[in-house]
Symmetry: C2
Subunit: 276 residues, 2 copies
Amino acid sequence: MPFHQYFNGEILPIDQSIFKTNDLGLLRGYGLFDYFRTYNGLPFRWDDYWKRFENSARLLKLPLSVSQQETEKILADLFAMSGEQEVAFRFVLTGGYAPDSVNVVEPNFLIRTEALPQDNPAGRLKGIKVIPYEYVRDLPEIKTTNYVHMVLMADEMKRQQAADLLFHKDGEVSELTRSNIFIFQGDKLITSDRNILNGITRRVVLELAQPHFEIEVRPVTYKEVVTADEIFTTSTTKWVMPVVQIGDLPVQDGLAGKRTLFLQKLFEELVADWGK
Amino acid sequence: MPFHQYFNGEILPIDQSIFKTNDLGLLRGYGLFDYFRTYNGLPFRWDDYWKRFENSARLLKLPLSVSQQETEKILADLFAMSGEQEVAFRFVLTGGYAPDSVNVVEPNFLIRTEALPQDNPAGRLKGIKVIPYEYVRDLPEIKTTNYVHMVLMADEMKRQQAADLLFHKDGEVSELTRSNIFIFQGDKLITSDRNILNGITRRVVLELAQPHFEIEVRPVTYKEVVTADEIFTTSTTKWVMPVVQIGDLPVQDGLAGKRTLFLQKLFEELVADWGK
């Protein structure tokens, strides 16, 4: 597994010390990222991920030093060097080295090749528990590197055998730490469009659900979530993951919902055939 | 100026690439810092800065690998190597290298030696302009590395010839991007105690003001700020800095206030004699 990484034009071993210590990502949290994976060796929904990355960069006023086409070539090289069947890629774009630790001079652009995270097939079958957490992400549309609350609560999640935090504020639910939320009211599928990161898996699931369910994309209240018939969350790594418990409260009978499992199956079929 | 830096037990040249790319400070914004300087070659209010640093670390659940005494020795070495009359030190403590990019294994601890920032004697005499900005810092008591809004607004501040942002939310003023705020109503000195970082300069100024003014430490409304007789802001680099304009609105006659300049003089005398 000789994974490599790209940094400002160079390809380097993944373990190499790269960052100088006056980087604005490190000193000021001024950075954004994106994360996606391959299926059958091909980046999934690459155009969508790239567009989101470009959008984050534009909103943080960080110019990109490479085009989508050039980046595609880099990804192919990193993939080939990995020798793996499948990999994940993490883009990190920071404000770069700043002599005054405030003003951006030239961004640093990193692409890490990473092993796929451990899969959770039991979770996808049985569903996960989440902990309600009063918080709304700052600049939610931008995939900034600010995940302080997630790391801060990692121990507590383990203690409560929960897989994630459910962010809510002023009676409204936005998202989980790294994934979007959907609920079913009967055959009606509802997902929030406020204070969220626009998930690519979220978008794919909306496309897959379109022919089968009535869809509402709008703010979702906390009350709607805890009284929903089914709940699931979507992300690059979680796919379509049933949520069966919120804090101490089971979602209905505490089992993964049948509509959720139906969408999960559609998603699994899609990625299994990706690029074929 | 051969500045050096300390990193996890080693002393290294300041320009050396040090950080591997799976550091939680870089990937997840999970990091905190502190910043202080010498006067007459001695760290100013070292005990106070160390205690604040310890407090931030405790709140982010990051254990420290060195004691205050060991750190003091490192600072003395870095200072001696710099060959400078005065330096600033920046502590950075991150969540460290994380194989899963979520869970803390062992923090990374960095101490950078830095040149003093450019002094602004004209600003201290004439006062600065600030831009009102609707925001309250997340986890304000912790000196986290999250300064995204400050970096994002750096260009706009330059365009408006403003020196800083004045954070306010729900009718209440908390602080500036890197400094605390004080107002005078007549001879009454008021500073906020809510949603702020506990500034060391703020504390020193409260001590200096004690014999001379009535003091109120309590939440401060936006309306009180814009109608105040005098306003100033305090920080390690700004000392006691008059604020004479908020957006387009001058503070009273737009000149630095006489009580402010009196406190500024007390502070300047204190640091001039530091360690003597």
